[in-house]
């Protein structure tokens, strides 16, 4: 990697990153609250993508089941807030557990639940590799999806509506720009953390295991453990994004767990550039922008979306950032 | 015009240029040794000849035909057979399937190849992935012979082979050359072996031809200067 190119990538990353708050601020000035909401959506979906990118980009673990974690985060929010909203306890025996509508607490629960789910799913799935891994993660995702649809306690396929957004100490989360600020701050923190992670010894070993597991073993490291940990971190971050997404919509339903969702998160990552720290940000921004702009054009706007995506894959190799930063893709 | 000729070839992998002016020519039925230290461009030259690498400057002629626009399979059909560096057997195919995958009719058939390498007959229905390194090497050579080429490109074809087998292969190639008039371009590290089969030699340094002549003229001094022996 040449130094000037690195410089260019950094520049693009900075520009991309600044674009989000700038858009939000601009919308605030123009009194276009919906644009702020859209920007918030980009930030949250980017966060989900950043989570997936740890497994996908760094670890080479192509998970088509990340909607499971996204949805688990969503339901963590939905269930806690639902109980708080209806003043019913979450459980009474063996000890009393109340619902909650405090965002930080919900996040904590989402992250822990996501991590545990990723641990369980990962521990089993990582026995396979390649396409089989894609499919087994899909299988676990679909199991959760069908479970959520037919489990009546929390709305089944109808999902759960939460009428007010959960609270964050000192902020009014219902004001779009304030909620945006929260989501953006979370994204920024996670990006910083993941950036460090990628450059750390763990990151080097993990990416090494992606390229050549045999090699990592012969230097005395266990690819399985490296990957499992990556998968857990990845699931936890995606779950956090799920909790935020549920809060954005004040709604959660099994569609958050469907394979379409997994596919969409993956598409943000690929579109932006696999393994690029800021790739999911670029990918989510472009996708949401297209969806929003094209959606108004015609009943058949999916055709245009399809064509544009196709052009990106065929001609923008290495995703958006890869193309802009001008470095050829790593794998050939 | 020669059977095979390269003039002023330059070629790159993406942004990295590997060849900076390779000249080489070979007559029908002749054997040329391509030599040079590691990373000097021997394999890249071989790839340019069989079109796996496109050159940006210079000309490649094979049997009087400009190869510039030909895709690899056309080059092969024109009569080139490749034993690539690193063997590249098809791991998911059996030995037999590897051999017949791209076979063309001619002198070399399954019986003749397994006559040369009896081990391959013993392993006929085993997957190539489970062969030993040397067995894979035999398979790669056999596979190229099965296409009955007029020009055989051998890139480190004896790497990892036991000395006896190596000697057998060179012996077979010598017979081949005299009986069928097949031309050979050989990359190999053993100067001693090359001296037995080759007629001429070309030495590369930093991607360019720096020495060419009869194999007998590769004196210890030349070898020391260019090959570090």
């Amino acid at each position: 990697m040449g130094v000037p190119e690195m410089g260019r990538a950094t520049l693009i990353n900075a520009a991309l990153f600044a674009m989000l708050p700038l858009t939000a601020l601009m919308a605030l000035l123009l009194d276009e609250p919906f644009i702020i909401t859209l920007t918030t959506k980009v930030a949250i979906l980017a966060l989900a993508g950043v989570g997936l990118n740890i497994a996908l980009g760094l670890g080479g673990l192509v998970s088509l089941g990340h909607a499971a974690f996204f949805g688990i985060g969503g339901y963590a929010m939905g269930i806690l807030a639902h109980h708080a909203q209806t003043y019913t306890p979450l459980m009474e025996a063996p000890f009393l557990l109340e619902g909650s509508n405090s965002m930080p607490l919900i996040w904590l629960v989402a992250v822990i639940a996501g991590a545990f789910a990723a641990m369980a799913i990962g521990a089993l799935s990582l026995r396979t590799s390649g396409v089989y891994f894609i499919m087994i993660t899909l299988a676990f995702g679909q199991m959760l999806y069908y479970f959520a649809i037919s489990w009546p306690a929390y709305g089944g396929e109808d999902g759960l509506s939460i009428y007010v957004r959960n609270g964050f100490p000192g902020l009014n989360t219902l004001v779009p720009i304030q909620f945006f600020a929260i989501c953006f701050a979370v994204l920024a923190l996670v990006l910083f953390g993941v950036g460090r992670l990628a450059a750390s010894p763990f990151g080097l070993a993990l990416a090494g295991a992606r390229q050549n597991p045999e090699r990592v073993q012969t230097v005395g490291l266990s690819p399985y453990r490296l990957r499992l940990l990556a998968f857990v971190i990845s699931g936890a971050i995606t779950a956090l994004a799920g909790a935020l997404f549920a809060d954005l919509n004040r709604f959660v339903s099994p569609t958050m767990l469907s394979w379409h969702m997994s596919g969409e998160i993956m598409i943000f990552v690929i579109l932006g550039g696999v393994g690029r720290l800021f790739g999911p940000v670029a990918g989510a921004a472009l996708f949401i922008l297209l969806e929003h702009v094209l959606g108004g054009l015609s009943d058949y706007w999916h055709v245009y979306l399809g064509i544009l995506l196709l052009l990106v894959v065929l001609f923008a190799r290495g995703g958006l950032i890869g193309t802009l930063a001008g470095r050829e893709v790593a794998h050939d | 015009m020669s059977f095979l000729s390269l003039q002023g070839i330059e070629a790159s992998y993406g942004p990295t240029q590997a060849l900076f002016g390779v000249d080489l020519s070979l007559e029908e039925g002749a054997v040329c040794a391509l030599m040079g230290r590691n990373g000097m461009g021997k394999s890249s030259t071989v790839k340019v000849i069989c079109r796996l690498l496109k050159h940006s400057v210079g000309q490649v002629y094979f049997k009087g035909r400009d190869m510039a626009m030909l895709p690899p399979h056309k080059a092969a059909q024109a009569g080139m057979g490749l034993v690539p560096e690193g063997r590249r057997c098809f791991p998911n195919l059996t030995v037999y399937e590897n051999l017949i995958a791209a076979a063309r009719t001619g002198h070399w058939d399954f019986a003749r190849v397994t006559g040369l390498f009896p081990r391959l007959a013993e392993r006929r229905d085993q997957s190539a992935a489970s062969l030993s390194g040397g067995e894979q090497q035999m398979l790669a050579i056999g596979r190229a012979l099965m296409t009955n080429p007029r020009l055989l490109l051998l890139d480190e074809a004896t790497e990892g082979l036991a000395p006896v087998v190596r000697q057998e292969i060179w012996a077979a190639l010598r017979i081949l050359k005299s009986e069928t008039g097949m031309a050979l371009l050989v990359v190999d590290k053993s100067l001693r072996d090359l001296r037995q089969v080759a007629d001429s030699a070309v030495i590369l340094e930093r991607g360019a031809t720096v020495w060419a002549g009869a194999i007998g003229d590769v004196t210890p001094a030349v070898a020391d200067q260019y090959l570090g022996v």
Binding site: F202 | N38, G134, E135, E156, V164, G228
Partner: protein
């Protein structure tokens, strides 16, 4: 003689009807190079895999530094001090040469569970890695991506990574393969010096190197050790000449 470092006892491995390793026992002592030669398909790589941990033997044990490591997996054996090179290069192809070496150094350090310190700025790891690259002569290429190396250069990197592990024993599967004549000569010199750091179990078809280096040579044919001895003993062995060396090598 000092105590044996690596002790292979009665290893046996078959693939279906094929007995690839047939009751093989070998030892490796400190300071020596023990070469393993034999025809293609004799079972040399299979043996190395069983010692390094990629393949479980059907019977027999591998003792290393007084411990039975037969039940260890590859990673555990590497941590115990078995450093291996592959017959066919096995490297992280997208990494730079230096990153590959740092990965080795990291493995040798044992702990990767650090999440926030940039690894390429870790002076200690870099030091180990660069020293190893220097020794095999790849320092000039350290920022090249491994995929851009020529075949021979990759072989050298393979050796360099093994060096970073600071192993107590080297298991080398055809390190000379793919090196030019000059390269082989240099590597031969290098390995000669290396044996004082850690003994080497060396599989090689390059007889010049084997005869120049080996203190002892074992010959494997059809999975069985048919002879063990010094270079001159082996050269003089008729069976070995017939099965393996052929005419000129022995002359």
């Amino acid at each position: 003689m000092t105590e044996t470092l690596l002790d292979i006892k009665g290893l046996r491995k078959s693939f279906g009807a094929l007995v690839a390793t047939d009751d093989v026992s070998l030892t490796l002592n400190p300071g020596e190079i023990h070469a393993l030669i034999g025809p293609n398909g004799a079972g040399k790589s299979t043996l190395i895999k069983q010692v390094a941990g990629g393949l479980a033997p059907d019977a027999g044990q591998v003792w290393f530094a007084g411990r039975d490591v037969t039940g260890f997996n590859t990673a555990a054996r590497a941590r115990a001090g078995l450093g291996r090179t592959f017959q066919i290069s096995s490297l992280a192809m997208e990494y730079t040469v230096l990153q590959n070496a740092v990965l080795g150094a990291l493995g040798a350090r044992g702990t990767v569970w650090r999440f926030f310190r940039p690894v390429m700025q870790d002076a200690e790891l870099r030091g180990v890695a660069e020293a190893a690259l220097e020794r095999v002569g790849l320092m000039d290429h350290r920022d090249k991506r491994t995929a851009e190396l020529s075949h021979g250069q990759r072989r050298l990197l393979e050796v360099a990574v093994a060096l970073t592990l600071k192993p107590r024993v080297f298991l080398m599967d055809e390190p000379m393969a793919g090196l030019g004549a000059g390269g082989s000569k240099r590597l031969t010199g290098f390995l000669d010096g290396l044996r004082s750091e850690a003994p080497i179990l060396l599989v090689e078809h390059d007889m010049d190197a084997v005869f120049a280096l080996a203190d002892r040579i074992s010959v494997l044919v059809y999975g069985k050790v048919i002879a063990t001895g010094t270079a001159s003993e082996i050269k003089a062995n008729r069976d070995v000449r017939e099965a393996y060396l052929g005419q000129e090598e022995a002359s």
